[in-house]
Symmetry: C2
Subunit: 498 residues, 2 copies
Amino acid sequence: MTAYQQLETVFSRWTILQDVGGILGWDMETMMPPGSIGSRSEQLAMLEDLRHETLTAPAVADLLAEAEARAGDLDEWQRANLREMRREHVRSVAVPGALVVANAKATSTCQHAWQGARKANDFAAVKPLLAEVVRLQREIGAAIGDATGVAPYDALLDGFEPGSSEAGIDRLFAPLEEALPDLLAAALEAQALSPAPVALPGPFGIERQERLCRTLLERLGFDFTHGRLDVSAHPFSGGAYGDVRVTTRFAEEEFLSAMMATIHEGGHALYEQGRPHEWRNQPVGQARGMGIHESQSMIIELQAGRSEPFVSYLAAAAREVFDGEDEAWRAANIGRLVHRVEPGFIRVESDELTYPAHILIRYRLEKALISGDLAVDDLPDAFNAAVNELLGLTVPDDRRGCLQDIHWYGGAYGYFPMYLKGAMVAAQLFEAAVAATPGILTALGQGDFAQLVGWLRDNVHGRASLTDGDTLVENATGAPPSAAAYLRHLDRRYVGDG
Amino acid sequence: MTAYQQLETVFSRWTILQDVGGILGWDMETMMPPGSIGSRSEQLAMLEDLRHETLTAPAVADLLAEAEARAGDLDEWQRANLREMRREHVRSVAVPGALVVANAKATSTCQHAWQGARKANDFAAVKPLLAEVVRLQREIGAAIGDATGVAPYDALLDGFEPGSSEAGIDRLFAPLEEALPDLLAAALEAQALSPAPVALPGPFGIERQERLCRTLLERLGFDFTHGRLDVSAHPFSGGAYGDVRVTTRFAEEEFLSAMMATIHEGGHALYEQGRPHEWRNQPVGQARGMGIHESQSMIIELQAGRSEPFVSYLAAAAREVFDGEDEAWRAANIGRLVHRVEPGFIRVESDELTYPAHILIRYRLEKALISGDLAVDDLPDAFNAAVNELLGLTVPDDRRGCLQDIHWYGGAYGYFPMYLKGAMVAAQLFEAAVAATPGILTALGQGDFAQLVGWLRDNVHGRASLTDGDTLVENATGAPPSAAAYLRHLDRRYVGDG
C-alpha cells in the first residue's frame, strides 16, 4: 500500500468513528432514557479520544510527509483529500492533550451550569465557568494559530469552515451591517401599509402536522430509506452517512414553525444524502463546513421554502391536511405570517430580516471575548448595549440577553457568523440556480424541489470538500461570497413588492 | 499507575466500545432505515476491529504479566478482574487476524444467504456457505483450544460461558435426557385428563397490550429512567450499561406471547441493570455468560412468570386492561393456556416441556459438526432423525427442520446448550430463593417481584463475573448446577398437581 492508501485507511476509521458518534448523538436527543446521560457521556468522550489518537498516532505524520512527496501520483480528489488530511492533522497535533481534556471538562461543566443559570436568570452563577471556557478557547485558538500562522480567532473560525478568517467575514458582513438599518425601517414601513396577517385557527393535531412534514420531506427528495424524521426538544439534522436523521418539534397551537423547521433540517439532510458515496469515509467527502451547511438549510427554508410559489403550494397542502376553509388559509395571508418582521430579543425566534442583527451582535462580542478586549464580567452590559444599538430594544434580563444561546457556554466561538454567512450564500446560490434553471420557481409552486436540488447536487452536495467554501461558491455562482444577492433578496421580499 | 491500573484503562475502553456497539445494535433492529444496513455494518465491523486491537496491543501482554506478578496487592474483585482480562486476552491473541476476518466475512455472507434459503426451503443453496462457517469455527475452536489446553468445541462453549465444557454439559443434561420421554408422556396424559384451554376472545388492541407490558416491566422493577421498551421483529434485550433496552412484538390475535416475551427480556434487563456500578466498565463487572444470562430471563418468565400466583395476578391485570369478562379469562384457563404441552417443529414456538428436546437435538448435532463426525451434507437427515427420536415427529421440510434457527449459519456453536442450562439453573435458583424467602410466592400473587429480584441482586446480578458460572450457582444455592431442581419443577408443574 502506498502512504496515501494507508492514510485512507486511517482516515476512514476517523470518519466512521464520527458517524458512530452521530448516531449516538441522535439517540441522546430522541430516544435515550434520561438517566443514561452518564454512560452516554463516557461513550462519546471515548469516541473523541479514539478519533484524536487515530489522527495523532506517530505514523500518521510520516505517512503525510511521504504522501505529499508523491502527490504528483494522485488525482484531483485524492490531492484534495490529502490536503484535508493534513489540515485535520495540523489542527489536532497543535493542541496539547492536557488542553483538550481541560477544554472538554470546562465546556461540559459550563454548558450544564448554563441550563440552570438561564432558567434562574442568573449570569453570575455561570460567569466564572464561562471565563474559564473563554480562556481555554483563546489558548486553543492560539495553539492552532501558531501552527497555521493565523490569529487565534481565525483559527477558531477555520474550525467551523476551513479557510475562514475574521478579515473575510468582516468584508462579507460590512455592506450588510451598513444597509440593514435602512432596510429594516423600509420593511417595517411597507409592512405597516399592508394588511396585518390573521392567525390560523388551531388547534392543529400533531398527527396531521407530522403527515404534512413527511409530505414536505418527500417533496424535497429526502430519502426515507436512508433517513428518519423524529421529534426532539430542538430540531436538528444528524446521524451518519447513509443514515441521515432529522428532527422537528410540534405544538398544537401553531404548525408553520414545525413545517419550516422540518424543511430547514431537510436542507441539511439533502446535503448529507448528496455527498459522494465513493468518498463517504474520507475527509474530502465530508460537507464543507458550517457556512456551506447552513446555506443548504437556508436555501431550502428561506429562499425556496418562503418563496411566493412554494407558499402557495404549502397553503394548499395545509388546507387539505387541516381541513382549512376560512380566509386566513389563503396563500397571501400565510405569506404575511411567514414574512412578518418584528424585532425581538430571542435569536431563534427572530424573523429573516432581523436575524442578521442578532448574529452581528454575537460576532462583534465573541471577537472581543477571544481577543481579550471584552471581559466576561462586562458581557451582559456589552450584549445589551449592542441589542439596543442594532435592534433598538432594551433587554429586560440576561435570560433574554447573553444567556439565551448555548454556543458560548459550550465553547463554540466562530460558529455564530457561519449562520449569517450561510444565509448570504443561500441567496447567492439560489439566484444562480434560478438563473441557470428558470423552471425552478414554477416547480416550487407545485411543491417540486427536484430541479433546485438537482442543481445543488451538481454544484454543492456532490462537491463535498473538494475545494474551500468560498471557491465552491465561486465555481457555482461565478463570484465569491458577497452580500449583494442577499441584499437584493431582502429588499425584494421585504421592501420591493411587499 | 500500576500495571493493573493501566489494564483497567485498556479494558474500560474495550468495554465501552462494546456498549457503543450495543446501542448501535439496538438501533439497527428498532429504528434504522432499511437502506442504512451498509453503513451500519461498516460501523460495527470497525468497532470490533478496535476492540480486537485494544486487547491485542503488544503492551497489554507485558502489563498482564506484570500485574499477575503483583497480584498479591489486589483485592478479591481486582484479582477476579485480572483473571477475566487474562482470559479475554488469551482468547483474542490465539486467533490469527486473517481467521477473524475470514470468519466475519463467512458468517455474514452465510447468515444473509440463510434468510433467503429458509424462505425458499432450499438447504442446498446455503450448504457450501455453512460448510465454510463450520470449517472456520472448527479452526477458531482449535486455535483457542491449543492456547487454553482444551478441545475445539470446549473452547467454543467457553466463549458463551467461561468454564463450560462438553463433559460438564453432558453431565448436566444426562439425567434430563433420560427422564424426559417419561415426563413428556406423563404430562400429556395428565393434560388429556384436565379441561382443554379455551382461547381468549380477541382482538387485543396493541395500545392496551403495550400498556400491560409497561405495567409488567414496572412490577418487575425495570428502571425506565435507565431503559426503554420498544418493538422489533424478534424480541431481545440489548443496549449498554445504564441504558438497557428491551423489545417485544405484538399481534392483535393473541397477547400472552407479547407479555411473556416482555418479562423474559425484562429478566435479562434486570440482570444488566443490577450489575455493580463500580465495575461497569471492567470485564469482572459484566454478566457471567449466556447460561447465567438465560437463567435470569427464565427465572422471571418460566419460574415466576408462569407460576400459579403470578398467573392469577396476570389474569386479573389482563381482564382489566382488555375488559375481559367471560369464563375464558379465569386464571385457571389462562394457566392452562400458558402451560399447554404440544410437541411441534419450531423451537422458538415450543412449550416449556418440549423445549429441552429441541436443545438436546441441536447440542448433539453441533458437537458432531465441530468434531467432524457429522458432515454438513448430512445435516438435514441427521436433524430429522433426531427430531423423530426425541419428539416423535416427522419433519416435513428443512424450513421446519435444520433451516429454522439462525445460530449455526451465523457461526454460533456452543450457544444452544446455554439456553437449556439457563432453564435448569433458573429452576435451581428459584427453589433456593423461595426456600430463603418464602414470601416470594405470595408476593408474586400481587404481581410483586421485589423479594425475588432482591434475592437475585444479592446472589446473581451484583456478583457479575466475580466467579465462574457454576461457582456462582453453588454459592447461591449450595450446590453446583444439576438437573434435580429442574426435574422437580417440570414434574410438579406438568405431572404432579396438573
